[in-house]
Point group: C2
Chain length 351, copies 2
């Protein structure tokens, strides 16, 4: 298995990424695609790195730190695979765009960590903790700006797609804030938050790949639907891993959602299924602004008493399946198969 | 004179703005331009307001709050005047661009207030204070994004100008952070901070007006130089008003720079000119992380003992004069005169 150190290394080889996401057997099945994908990812990385340097070294340092924490590179991988699945022989035209979406994603994580007071991210101190609040705010702003400079290389329609996705992200963050510490949030409202905070940006990234490739409207819509569903599957898995994952693999401590009082499908389902005193205890603990380690563990134990973990896992698989179905208008081939595998990986990954 | 309430009203009539900036006599001299300028500002305002609504009402509320606090509308006014000074009969083509720059400016103020823990802005609670930290971070991000959507209506070169100016702004904020509580910052370094934090964005806004109007390179460069110099004059006046202005007119308490330990030309010059025990006292008080009201007042009293206020005022006038000289390649006429007046107003305004 992978060691925690891998997760913190700037340049994780693609083989390791693939192995983590799909299991070691994927080497044999996907072997032929790996060189092309590695080339894609490295081209995207070049554009991303090229956008970072500022005239003020400490700012460059903070954004480099934020952008080279390994990460899963799921978005660039999805975009590159989708572009190739459309029969395009080179992903060059989407390098800058994929870099833009990756920068937007990173910017949003930096600011999220400020809002959530998160100390850890991908096995290292968060930008907030490593560089302080002013740097974290400025670094996030800077990455948004650099992202839009990169997006500025594309037609206005694509800039608007980026912008709309970022606006959704902001709305999702606010919606999440509004529902904090509140277990009466409905399942629908939770899905609205997830759609806005996570899924819309993946959806926009994939749809814009279709735009760049000059695809027909049904193909662009298929990619958008695929991205939306993968994004939801991904987030549901995130929620589950936050309570049931291995901290060493995740690169951060468990129970951030319990701690911050962010209702997820896991806690909402657990709360729905608990009864009597257990339900009251769950509600009371969840609503605490400051929670002790044993209170966090107790929330997890109470969750274990319900079918919530199973339900969330099933829901994730449901969205992965929906993502795969959405790919119908995309020509079959090894890259469409890869997109299918990535959808399943989003719902079953261990980190 | 204007009442403090005016400063907090969303729609301050242009006459009032002009009167505040230039004094009442300007009505007679500028009377002919006012209807055109009012039309310009209202067109810009329409594009700005049109960009704000989000699907999540509380986010819309926060950004509307941030964008309708009156303010001086100096940037839109400069851009509209510059566009007309170039002989363009309508400013319509720059409405979206001016709105974009105004949104960028507002976004940076919201995030600045988070970094500076500022409670007040333009006579009302800051977004941070009124809506909380998460909303302030998200609202700033959202405005940056909407700004770039608007900028996306223009050619890539203009998007890059916006982006570069925002990157400078971020660098300036970081430079300022790095020099906080430190009176050994050099005058050059202070001017670098001001250039990045304030002047570059005004410069980019004006240069992009030249781009949109299809002006020659010398004219674009003249506008850029004018904007840079006006920006510096404006900021020097801001620094002075922070210690010598009328809080009611300013809409915020005095001494924010002393309190936050932001060295300005005022404190740097005062420190340079003080000697012996006074100098030591100044340094000690300035470096305090928490300052009491009487310590803030003492810093001002010590500043009064030096030629610093006079020097800063003179420096502001120097930059205003430089701005006016930079306008040489612009065709003479009422709008160029207006730009000259605006430069002087930036250096002499009372709020």
């Amino acid at each position: 298995m992978t060691s925690p150190a891998d997760a913190t290394t700037a340049e994780v080889p693609l083989e390791v990424l693939v192995s983590r996401a799909f299991g070691p057997e994927a080497f044999f099945e996907l072997g032929g695609l790996l060189p092309e994908l590695a080339e894609d990812l490295s081209g995207i990385e070049d554009r991303l790195k090229g956008a970072l340097p500022s005239d003020f070294p400490p700012l460059t340092e903070a954004v480099l730190y934020a952008c080279t924490t390994g990460g899963k590179r799921l978005r660039p991988l999805l975009m590159a695979a989708a572009h190739r699945a459309l029969g395009v022989t080179s992903t060059k035209p989407i390098h800058a765009l994929a870099a833009a979406f990756q920068l937007i994603h990173t910017a949003s994580l930096i600011h999220d960590d400020v809002i959530d007071h998160a100390d850890q991210r991908r096995g290292r101190p968060s930008v907030l903790r490593a560089f302080g609040l002013p740097s974290a705010i400025v670094a996030g702003d800077y990455l948004y700006v650099r992202a839009f400079e990169l997006a500025g290389e594309y037609p206005q329609a694509i800039i608007l797609r980026c912008g709309e996705a970022c606006a959704n992200l902001a709305e999702g963050e606010m919606l999440q804030e509004a529902g904090r510490f509140d277990l009466t949030v409905s399942r629908d409202q939770y899905l609205r938050i997830v759609t806005r905070k996570t899924a819309t940006i993946v959806s926009a990234a994939l749809a814009s790949v279709g735009d760049v490739a000059g695809s027909t409207a049904p193909v662009v819509e298929a990619l958008a639907a695929y991205g939306r569903a993968v994004g939801i599957a991904f987030q549901l898995r995130d929620d589950l891993l936050d309570a049931y994952g291995e901290p060493d693999l995740l690169g951060k401590p468990l129970y951030a959602d319990f701690r911050e009082g962010n209702p997820t499908l896991l806690s909402l389902e657990a709360y729905q299924h608990l009864q009597g005193r257990s339900k009251a205890e769950y509600e009371r603990l969840f609503a605490r602004r400051e929670k002790r380690p044993r209170e966090l563990a107790r929330l997890r134990t109470l969750t274990d008493m319900t079918p919530a973990p199973r339900l969330v896992e099933a829901e994730g698989r449901h969205w992965a399946a929906a993502a795969i179905r959405a790919l119908d208008p995309i020509p079959p081939g090894p890259y469409r198969s890869l997109l299918e595998r990535l959808a399943n990986a989003a719902a079953t990954r261990r980190y």
